[in-house]
């Protein structure tokens, strides 16, 4: 037996992409896939042009408008005029560089982290970057995905590489079985609530254990999506036969012998039995139930039947932040979260806008109606999701129940598209950030699963979907 410890999944993915070692833990990494969006993509192309440099490998970059595009049904690129300018800059840069651009209406447009894996652009084992922190979503199929800044995206355009310092490795073992009706979103919020929003800073996280292996691929994307809310730039799940079956046949995935060769490689992407992690955490999945946030950080997560905290019960260090969060959210100390009246529901975002998410929400909405005074939006994550959902009639379910069925994009998660929750209004949202002002100045956000969000729309208040009449 060798004295050398085995490799983690992250080590294997990292090593695959090292062009050369730069010393001090740094390496020049090859970037296999680069995804660009409208918010800053046009600026990256302009910066590159200002340097007089061409795109190194245009076939590896893919662009689509998502952040600043309107989700209004029947929208066009300019429906939100500011977004129209950003869209034109991205499209112009992409076309000049020979980069694939998936326009509104093409059938491929969508939120970058929904669109890229579902089209087979992102594959297990590839490195993928995007100027968006939720690029960690792609770790759900075993891709080395991480968010980057604008300057780094120019570096990728110019060289197809990045200079990166290797992070430490953490594993979160989720043992047991998630109870019926408890989703990957609940698990993710539970983990962040327990470990804190900074627990993953400086780490690449691998999720493993029986509860993770039991998740379908879309749920794995959801779990990895929230890694950055735990502070980590990377979230990973080892690809398995379920992943391989999911990727097979996707439009941009390899075909035939090339696919089989790829799948053989993907089957080796697993942490060795003797692999060492700098940090390891265990979560008992059977103890997790429907979970929702009460405050202004994703770590402010509690069970649906719990109460918001009482600052007077906390120590001096913790009290001010909790007090400020309660005040912003309009909560008295220690009240039960269930029963809180709401104004808005948003079902969408790169966390929870895939077909299975919409199916879960539709199961709650079917035969019921949105409460008076509540605006409830369903925003599919991509045009492919929209098409698939409409093919099985989910839009009819939502429309009959009084939900709005909208067009794909980031919409109310990011509020950079003319769509906002008003000051003081309360929204149950399937997105990933409940920061101060995230959904609009003064907006109050509660993060939850699609079923919980749909149930809140029906009840008109935060509610346990399992007890809906």
């Amino acid at each position: 037996m060798s004295d050398v410890a085995g490799l983690t999944l992250f080590d294997k993915l990292w090593n695959e992409h090292v062009i050369f070692d730069l010393g001090g833990g740094w390496a020049l990494l090859h970037i296999d896939r680069h995804v660009m969006h409208d918010l800053v993509g046009g600026g990256s192309f302009a910066d590159l042009a200002a340097r007089g440099v061409k795109v190194h490998d245009p076939q590896f970059t893919f662009a689509t408008p998502d952040h600043a595009v309107s989700s209004l049904p029947g929208r066009v690129a300019t429906t939100f005029p500011l977004g129209g300018r950003l869209h034109a800059a991205l499209r112009g840069g992409a076309q000049a560089a020979g980069v694939q651009f998936f326009d509104v209406g093409s059938g491929s447009q969508g939120i970058v982290h929904v669109m890229a894996p579902e089209l087979g652009i992102v594959l297990p084992g590839v490195s993928v970057v995007c100027t968006d922190s939720h690029t960690c979503t792609n770790g759900g199929i075993g891709a080395l995905g991480f968010g980057i800044g604008t300057t780094e995206s120019v570096h990728v355009l110019a060289t197809q590489t990045l200079r990166q310092q290797k992070p430490q490795r953490m594993r979160i073992l989720c043992d047991g079985v998630l109870p019926q009706g408890t989703t990957a979103k609940d698990l993710a919020l539970h983990i962040i609530g327990r470990l804190g929003a900074a627990a993953g800073v400086g780490y690449a996280i691998e999720y493993a254990g029986s509860a993770v292996e039991a998740l379908d691929v879309e749920a794995r994307l959801t779990l990895c999506n929230l890694s950055v809310e735990l502070g980590a730039r990377f979230g990973l799940i080892a690809p398995d036969e379920r992943t391989i079956a999911w990727v097979r046949g996707k439009p941009w995935a390899p075909k035939g012998a090339a696919f089989e060769e790829a799948a053989a490689c993907w089957r080796t992407l697993v942490s060795d039995a003797d692999a060492q992690f700098e940090r390891e955490e265990r979560i008992d999945a059977s103890s997790v139930g429907p979970t929702i946030t009460w405050g202004t950080s994703p770590q402010h997560a509690i069970a649906i039947d719990a109460r918001v905290p009482d600052p007077s019960a906390l120590d001096d260090a913790a009290r001010p932040a909790v007090h400020a969060a309660l005040e912003y959210m309009g909560f008295l100390p220690g009240v039960p979260i269930a029963g809180t009246p709401i104004d808005w529901v948003f079902i969408g975002s790169c966390s929870n806008s895939r077909l299975s998410d919409l199916q879960a929400a539709a199961d709650v909405a079917r035969g019921r109606h949105v409460a008076p005074g509540v605006r409830a939006w369903v925003v599919p994550g991509s045009e492919s999701v929209q098409r698939a959902a409409e093919a099985e009639g989910l839009h009819e379910v939502f429309l009959s129940a009084g939900f709005e069925w909208r067009s794909p994009g980031c919409s109310l998660c990011v509020a950079a598209n003319g769509e906002q929750v008003g000051p003081g209004e309360r929204c149950v949202s399937t997105s990933n950030r409940n920061f101060v002002g995230r959904q609009g100045p003064g907006a109050r956000t509660h993060l939850a699963s699609p079923a919980m969000a749909a149930a809140a729309a029906i009840a008109g208040s935060i509610t346990d979907f399992r007890h809906l009449p």
Partner: protein, 232 residues
């Protein structure tokens, strides 16, 4: 890239944990404005009241700390979104150095790309600096010696990754450095085509696009608009 060697200035204490990049700069600001225009909108949720007036309770509006070039921050500063505009907005109000117990990983990297120095110190060390600079008395941050000096002879040492430190001191541009390695990159790619052919075997765009049906405005979309009209 701009250089960072030494700075001297007031250090504003903004010691809340988990200040995220949405709070540092709202997304609609960066959608609408160029990077040089973001300063007035840095930390706007903290600096301004809902009516747009300055909030005198915010430390950045107090005379001693207006124009501070150093920020003493809480844990996990710059968590959340990858927006590099968070760094640009802080630079727009004159911040060149943020000192915190920990940082969001992407924000931390973005600082170095723009000549901003993020320094990790313990809560206790930041408390000492806050005490020494409480009325606006300047701190001196020296990247050559990796020290922070305050009045009364206070001296705190910090560490910065050596790669990052050299890049800031020299102002070397990562993209220029990597472009000089073009031969190595192309050679690696040539080997990779044989090693991982599946990464390179993309279908023709026409073929891949043909497999995806466009979205039309017919049918359900019309019903959606009707639904929208009935639910204002």
């Amino acid at each position: 890239m701009s250089t960072f060697i030494t700075i001297q200035g007031a250090a504003a204490p903004l010691r809340l944990d988990n200040i995220d990049t949405d709070v540092i700069v709202r997304i609609e600001r960066l959608a609408a404005l160029s990077k040089e225009q973001l300063g007035p909108f840095a930390l706007e949720a903290l600096r301004f009241r809902p009516d747009g007036s300055e909030d005198p309770a915010c430390v950045l509006n107090q005379p001693a700390f207006r124009g501070a070039s150093i920020l003493l921050a809480g844990a996990n500063f710059g968590c959340g979104s990858s927006r590099e505009a968070a760094v640009w907005a802080l630079m727009g109000i004159g911040i060149r150095c943020v000192i915190a117990p920990s940082f969001g990983d992407i924000f931390f990297g973005n600082c170095f790309q723009n000549g901003m120095l993020p320094i990790r110190l313990t809560h206790a060390e930041i408390g000492i600096l806050a005490q020494a600079s409480r009325d606006g008395a300047p701190l001196e941050v020296d990247l050559h010696t990796c020290t922070i000096k305050a009045r009364y002879g206070t001296l705190i040492r910090f560490t910065v990754d050596e790669h990052r430190r050299e890049a800031l001191l020299s102002g070397l541009d990562d993209i220029d450095l990597t472009l000089r390695k073009e031969d190595s990159i192309r050679a690696w790619q040539q080997r990779d085509r044989n090693r991982r052919p599946w990464v390179w075997s993309l279908p023709s765009p026409a073929e891949a696009r043909a497999a995806v049906a466009p979205i039309t405005l017919a049918g359900c979309t019309a019903r959606s608009q009707a639904g929208l009209a009935s639910n204002p």
